[in-house]
């Protein structure tokens, strides 16, 4: 009797359909089989459909002549160039507008985020109105609005608006002056790099010395002096070659200076203002996340307002700010694809033209997706590295 009960209670091998391991394997096999079947079905249909339409698949078309013009491009391009070259033009345009957009949106967002926390009632309210307005209107609509403003409402070049001296806004775009190219600029750039490197080395040394001896060193001021002073010294040594290339009215348009086309300007303004409103909220939340006791403790230690910000509040706020900031940068880059609405030749817009001309939809869309995935991964990687630098080090 007793031995029979023990026999019944001993955990033996369960039946296969009750064994979690066996079940897991079976479920996965079924899952993979279903996925593969669906994929095979779709691929089969696509192949049949493409055959019916007489479209040869493959990336061979990339070498063909593109035969369409592109309004603006950073690299040399003519309609006689290949589709691949056109893709590259689109890619550089996308990267160009995203890079400028990320920098400007960060500045705008930080300023507005700080303004929302200002003790000045009027400034805080204005910042809040900005955020609540632009965050709640679709970006596509904002782009069309700015574009319409620049294309239709802005005056002809002869009556161009002039918000700043030598900056002109007309229906041909936004023109502003740039310094004439000069060999000294290259040496100034080198001096700037040297200054950044030197100030980094100085601040490292100063921090180590402070840890060792407790003595402080005005590394910030010396660093600023190095970063600004070295290029300035080169500039003066070269005889201060400050000749501005100023836009001037010639016939019906401006010549000289740099011109942002209405499309580029509208895309940049829209992206910066829209993303800036999100970044402002991130910055605000990050600073609010640092408890007031931290600031009080810093004041009790006798730190100045600047030291309090730099040593106590900012390092803790950055920990909260950096991860959501990464996703804002990613979404700005992805949102730059809305350029297709207003006709700025970004990657998606050019791929779209290519697909319409050649019918190579599968290849075109695969290429766009691959490019965006790579861009997303690179931005995530850079921001994750930065995040690791600011993250809390625990044990």
């Amino acid at each position: 009797m007793a031995s029979q009960a023990a026999e019944a209670l001993r955990p033996g091998r369960p039946a296969p359909w009750r064994d979690p391991r066996v079940r897991g394997i079976v479920i996965q096999i079924v899952f993979v089989a279903v996925l593969a079947a669906v994929a095979a079905f779709l691929v089969h249909n696509t192949v049949v459909n493409l055959e019916q339409r007489g479209i040869a698949s493959g990336f061979g078309f990339l070498g063909d002549e593109a035969k369409f013009g592109i309004g603006e491009s950073l690299i040399a391009y003519s309609p006689a160039d290949s589709y691949l070259r056109a893709f590259l033009v689109g890619l550089t345009n996308t990267l160009y507008v995203s890079a400028i957009g990320i920098v400007l949106a960060t500045i705008v967002g930080t300023v507005i985020g700080l303004a929302r926390l200002s003790s000045n009632w009027l400034v805080a309210k204005l910042a809040q109105i900005y955020v609540e307005t632009f965050r709640n209107i679709p970006l596509a609509l904002q782009l069309l609005f700015w574009w319409g403003l620049l294309r239709q409402v802005a005056p002809a070049p002869r009556q161009a608006w002039q918000p700043l001296p030598d900056v002109f806004i007309s229906n041909r775009g936004v023109s502003f002056p740039v310094p004439h190219e000069d060999p000294a600029h290259f040496w100034m750039l080198l001096a700037l790099v040297a200054g950044v490197a030197a100030s980094w080395a100085v601040s490292r040394w100063a921090r180590q010395r402070q840890v060792r001896t407790g003595q402080q060193f005005p590394s910030l001021w010396l660093g600023l002096g190095l970063i600004l002073g070295l290029p300035l010294a080169v500039f003066l040594a070269a005889g201060a070659p400050l000749r501005l290339d100023v836009p001037a009215l010639q016939g019906f348009n401006f010549s000289g200076g740099i011109v942002f086309s209405p499309e580029f300007a509208a895309l940049l303004i829209g992206l910066v203002i829209y993303t800036g409103s999100f970044i402002a909220e991130i910055v605000r939340a990050g600073i609010l996340a640092v408890s007031w006791g931290q600031s009080e403790a810093a004041m009790a230690l006798g730190l100045t307002a600047w030291q309090r910000m730099r040593l106590i509040v900012l390092p803790q706020a950055l920990r909260v700010i950096v991860p959501p900031m990464t996703s804002e940068y990613l979404s700005l880059t992805k949102n730059s694809s809305l350029a297709v609405i207003i006709g700025y030749p970004d990657l998606v817009s050019i791929a779209n033209t290519t697909i319409n001309q050649t019918g190579h939809a599968v290849e075109g869309i695969t290429m766009i997706m691959a490019v965006y995935l790579v861009i997303s991964l690179v931005i995530s990687l850079i921001m994750n590295l930065y995040n690791r630098a600011v993250a809390l080090v625990e044990r």
């Binding site: 479920i27 996925l35 998606v348």
Partner: protein, 365 residues
């Protein structure tokens, strides 16, 4: 001889004028330091430069009624254009005589959204929404109860925007839950597939997904089978939204203490019963505020369908501009469309902030 008056409390002095009333408020809030005073003056200058021209444009110089665009030219806004085009912007190319139907659809949507905000009704939403969507479908399509049939090609304006956003979210949600569970599954094949899908979709812009749906979806289907343009866009929205929703749901799943799952196991619940009865109710309740925020994003994203040629609210506003009799009133049309989008988004974001505050109440001391 002592002065009795000395022992009496002195009559309360009025606080100095400079610290009370309007002057006190101004000093405390606008001019409490040199820097703030400069900021205030700058802000006032900015307001003085922007507000009067805007009021002049929108109200003083505006034209309220005019027979055509020529009579409307001036320095101010042409609201006559909006009066002329308002029904087109709202309902687009839906048959003019039948436009009461999309109007009711919009009202039903608004009523359902408002009802969803009332937490006492949350238990019944699962019945309310399918019923509401069936009524909306019947109204839009027609062909029943003596309503004339209207094909999806004529659906446009605000109802289309709302349908894309709401139907997209409703269908994306179950898919997103499966994806989120898949991403946390113990089975490697399921996990890898879920991660690949989520990261792939989140890594590319919505436009490419829309392009894919409009260009490649017809290629994917068996030859001869065509698929409605609206349905293609809707599928794209569902696939896109699901990836983002899945990450939100995963956030909720990760926040469930392990003890809850172990307790469910101890009670002898299997995977699905444990997930349905223990894990999901807690996880989903936790992520309601980000879900509302995501819905706001989806609502704004519907404006991208103009790229594949659907007439949503933005596209009808855009198309109204092409009337040769009414040229050059882009600002007016966009301001009106923006106001409609804004009121929906602003209301929902306020609601999500309120929910967040309420949910955090238990966590606050």
């Amino acid at each position: 001889m002592t002065d009795i008056a000395q022992d009496l409390p002195a009559p309360a002095e009025r606080p100095p004028v400079a610290s009370t009333g309007i002057i006190g408020w101004l000093r405390a809030n606008l001019f409490n330091s040199v820097f703030n005073s400069i900021l205030t003056l700058l802000a006032l200058y900015f307001l003085a430069m922007t507000i009067p021209p805007m009021i002049r444009w929108a109200l003083v110089d505006a034209v309220w009624s005019a027979p055509n665009g020529q009579a409307c030219r001036g320095d101010g806004a042409c609201w006559a254009f909006i009066a002329e085009k308002f029904r087109f912007i709202l309902f687009g190319v839906y048959p003019y005589a039948e436009q009461w139907r999309p109007l009711f659809v919009v009202l039903i949507f608004v009523a359902m959204i408002l009802a969803s905000c009332d937490r006492r009704l949350w238990g019944r939403l699962i019945l309310l929404w399918p019923a509401g969507l069936v009524v909306i479908g019947a109204l839009m399509w027609g062909g029943v109860f003596g309503l004339s049939y209207v094909e999806t090609g004529s659906w446009s304006g605000l109802p289309l925007t709302l349908i894309l956003a709401v139907v997209g979210m409703v269908f994306a949600f179950p898919f997103a839950i499966l994806l989120a569970l898949g991403r946390r599954s113990k089975l490697p094949a399921v996990r890898v597939a879920s991660v690949c899908y989520i990261e792939l979709v989140r890594g590319v812009p919505l436009i490419t997904v829309l392009f894919m749906a409009s260009v490649m979806l017809p290629l994917f289907l068996p030859a001869g089978l065509t698929i409605d343009k609206l349905l293609r866009a809707q599928v794209a929205f569902i696939l896109f939204a699901a990836a983002y929703l899945a990450e939100i749901v995963r956030g909720g799943l990760q926040a469930i203490p392990k003890g809850q799952i172990e307790a469910a196991d101890a009670l002898g619940l299997g995977y699905w019963r444990r997930t349905r009865l223990i894990v999901l109710p807690q996880a989903l309740a936790m992520v309601i505020p980000p879900l509302v925020n995501n819905f706001i994003g989806a609502f704004k994203n519907t404006s991208l369908v103009l790229i594949i040629g659907l007439f949503d609210l933005l596209n009808t506003a855009n198309t109204a501009l092409t009337d040769p009799n009414w040229q050059g009133f882009a600002a007016e049309a966009y301001v009106v469309a923006a106001a409609i989008y804004w009121s929906f988004c602003f209301f929902m974001s306020r609601y999500s902030q309120m929910l967040e505050r309420e949910f955090n109440r238990s966590r606050r001391r």
